[in-house]
Every structure is written in structure tokens, then in C-alpha cells.
């Protein structure tokens, strides 16, 4: 739309300009020379471009109004003006565009938040991520299962709540009694109803839960400490990325205001 000439003629301004500088290939030059006699607009266009180029070549040369030879004191002043050390570092840093820094910081921030959510299960709430016990502790857990800490149910005690995480009772219970399911009816009833299956060694799926859960909650030291440390490092980086984003945005606003201010003077 901007250049109807190019649409209507096989040779655009770049070809005509290159032709004037003898920069078209012989084949293209021959094609243009074949086209010109039959195309008045192309001929006129070429002549106008030629007039522009000749006018530029004929522009008078301006003699230097004075000598620009350097004096030692000028060189010394320029050397002093050249920043070194922290000033040079600051100058190089200022070459980064605040927009780029802000965008990079924002992307980094979201990536870190994504990593946080994906690996730490949304920040480790009370029912969130439970670190897996080490092999040694798993063995202890098995022993504890064998010791049936849920024995209070058989003795009429209340089932331990998740949060309470009581230590297993010192009194050993009959080993064959499986732990009652956590979500099931009150343990006493379960014990009564399933008393006939007291000898079966395999507990139900639900039955494993109360034994595992107190263990997982009762021995969080190694896993949770590592998880906490990782989480805090990750959140530190998130904070840093967020701060970098805010700083870059502030720099951008300051730069814009400064530009506007300078433009007004």
C-alpha cells in the first residue's frame, strides 16, 4: 500500500538503487534495461533517483573549522573521565534494559513458584507432603507394626488421633491382632466384629493407615529438616527474583520520568 510503484512494476526501489551503483547481477541488469524503454514510470523513477544521488555527490565538502589534534591535557581529562572499578561496573550494568531484567526476573519467579508447588506439595501443610522415612526407620516401623501399637483399641482405649502422635504404649499387645482401620467404626466395635479374624496376619488397607501415620508424624526429623531447608532456600530465591522484578520496574519508571523531565527542559 505504501509503495504502489513496486506493486505495479517488476523492479522495486532497491533494484533501481542497486542498478545505479552497478550492484545488480548482469542478468538482472539486462532484464531492467530491456524493461526500461517500454516503461515510462520506471525510466522517470530511475532518473529521479539518479538526480538524488548526483545531488548528494555534489554536496560541497566542508573544511574542518579548526584543528581537532589532541592536546595532552585533553587526553588526560578524557582518561580521568573513563570510569574504572565499581563505576565501570555500574556503567556496564546500566547497559541492561530494565524491561529485560524485569521480564527475566518475573519468569524466574514463576519458575521457582512452579518448582515449589510441584516438589513441595503446596508448601507442606499439616496434611501435605510427608517425607519418606529412611530404610532404618522403615524397619523400625515394621517392628512397630509387629508390636501393634494400636492395641489400645483392643483394650478399649481411644484410637490415637493423627495430630496427637502418641508414643506406642510400652505394654506389648498380642502380636496377631491387626490394627483397626482409621476410618472405620470405633475400634472397639471393629475388634468385636473381626475378632474371629484375629489370627489372620494380613491387615486391611485401611488398617495400615493408623500404624503408618503416627510413625510418619512421629519421626519427621531428618526428612522434614531437609525439606524445610530446601523450601526456605527456594523461597529465598523466589523473594530475590520478586525483589529483582520490583527493582527493575522501579528503574524503568525512574528512567521514563527522567527522560520526560529532560525532554521538557
Amino acid at each position: 500500500m505504501r509503495n504502489p510503484f513496486v506493486r505495479r512494476h517488476p523492479f522495486g526501489e532497491e533494484e533501481l538503487s542497486s542498478y545505479l551503483d552497478r550492484r545488480l547481477s548482469p542478468a538482472e541488469s539486462a532484464r531492467l534495461e530491456e524493461h526500461l524503454p517500454s516503461c515510462e514510470p520506471c525510466r522517470r523513477h530511475l532518473e529521479e533517483l539518479r538526480a538524488v544521488v548526483e545531488g548528494l555527490r555534489d554536496l560541497p565538502s566542508m573544511p574542518a573549522p579548526r584543528s581537532f589534534a589532541l592536546r595532552p591535557e585533553q587526553v588526560e581529562a578524557a582518561r580521568r573521565r573513563t570510569p574504572v572499578g565499581p563505576a565501570a561496573w555500574a556503567q556496564r550494568a546500566s547497559a541492561f534494559s530494565p524491561v529485560g531484567v524485569a521480564a527475566a526476573a518475573l519468569v524466574l519467579f514463576f519458575v521457582l513458584v512452579g518448582v515449589d508447588l510441584a516438589t513441595l506439595g503446596g508448601g507442606g501443610g499439616p496434611e501435605g507432603f510427608v517425607p519418606a522415612p529412611s530404610t532404618e526407620k522403615a524397619f523400625e516401623a515394621d517392628q512397630a507394626v509387629g508390636a501393634a501399637p494400636a492395641s489400645p483399641s483392643a483394650n478399649g482405649y481411644e484410637a490415637p488421633s493423627l495430630g496427637a502422635a502418641p508414643a506406642p504404649t510400652p505394654t506389648p499387645a498380642p502380636p496377631a491382632v491387626p490394627a483397626p482401620p482409621l476410618a472405620a467404626a470405633p475400634p472397639t466395635i471393629a475388634a468385636d466384629e473381626e475378632g474371629r479374624e484375629a489370627g489372620t496376619p494380613e491387615p486391611t488397607v485401611g488398617a495400615a493407615t493408623p500404624t503408618e501415620t503416627p510413625l510418619a508424624v512421629a519421626m519427621p526429623e531428618a526428612g522434614e529438616e531437609g525439606g524445610d531447608a530446601g523450601r526456605w532456600v527456594l523461597r529465598g530465591f523466589q523473594g530475590a527474583a520478586g525483589a529483582a522484578f520490583l527493582a527493575a520496574m522501579a528503574a524503568l519508571v525512574w528512567q521514563r520520568r527522567r527522560k520526560r523531565g529532560v525532554g521538557r527542559t
Partner: protein, 200 residues
Amino acid sequence: MQATAPEDSRLVALSQEGDLAAFNALVERYQGQVYNLCWRMLGLREAAEDATQEAFLAAYRNIRRCRGPGFRAWLLRIAANAAIDELRRRHRRPQVSLETPIADSETPLDLPDPSAGPEEWALRREQTRCLQAALLTLPPDQRLSVILSDVQGLSYEEVGQAMGSSLGTVKSRISRGRARLRRYLLEKGELSLPGQRPTQ
């Protein structure tokens, strides 16, 4: 200009050892070209002087990075950067608009050869003034390409070296710059065709 390359190399080598006199010999040799480039880029004598001085200071500070035979293109690149920096500085603090036609007082030396007849002289003076005003309407990259190529007579390769651009970019900038100048001069009624000549 090619014949001066060995001499340039010698002077550059001496300058790299801190010989200010040798560097000033290079200044004397190229100051006209550098000043003309800055003047055509900026259109103001004072601004052109500032940019020229800044270009030579920058060249001296960075002379260790220069290889002797390419001194001219290297210096023109520094001059182009200095002119563009000066242009930006003046756009931020526009004491005089760079788009306005240049006042006569600003162009005491920009006159065609007065040996032509008075009418021809007046006509060419007006064309010169109009062409310089047209140059100042171009974007800096196109302006620089056109000045280096058409006013200073550098080849496409030399323009590419001076601007740090590829041949394709140079070609495109020159053609777009010329096209804009043509349209500007046609709009102003200042484009006089030099008669019907053979095309090449």
C-alpha cells in the same frame, strides 16, 4: 585513500605505543572527513565540532583495538557512533530542532562553487540547503548509510565495515534512504532532473 594505508599502519602502531604526535598526524589526515560526516549527520556546526572532537578522543582511547590497514573504516565507525550519540543528546535537550531547515548563519561554509554564474550559484545553493534538510529527515541508520555511500563515496563494503552491518543491510538502508529523499524532494518541488541521459 588505499595508498595511505601503509602510512596509516605505521602511525597507528606508533599511536598504540602512546605517541600522541603520531596520532595527531592521523587526526590531521582524517579530520575533514570525520567533520563532514558529523556535519551531514547533525546539520549544526557546533554539534558537529563536539562530535568530531569526541570521536578523536574515543579513537585515541581505544587505539589498541585498531588494526592499521582498516583505520579509516574503524575511525568512521567511531565517528558515526559519536554523531549518533550527539544526535540523541540533542534530541533529549532540543535547543534547536534537527528537523528544521538550517539557518544561513549555521552554514557559512556550505556553499557551492561561486565560480558558476550568479543564477546557477543561487540555484545550487538552494538545492544544497534543501538536500541537507532532506537528509535530516531520514532515520539515523539510513542517513548514515546514504552519507557514507553517496556523500563520502565509500563502497558498500566500506559502509558495511564502518557501520558494522552486512552488505544486504547496507544495500537496503541506502535504497530506502534514497527513496525517502526522492519523495521529500518531489514533495518540495526541488528535484530537478539532469536532462535525459543514457541510463548507465
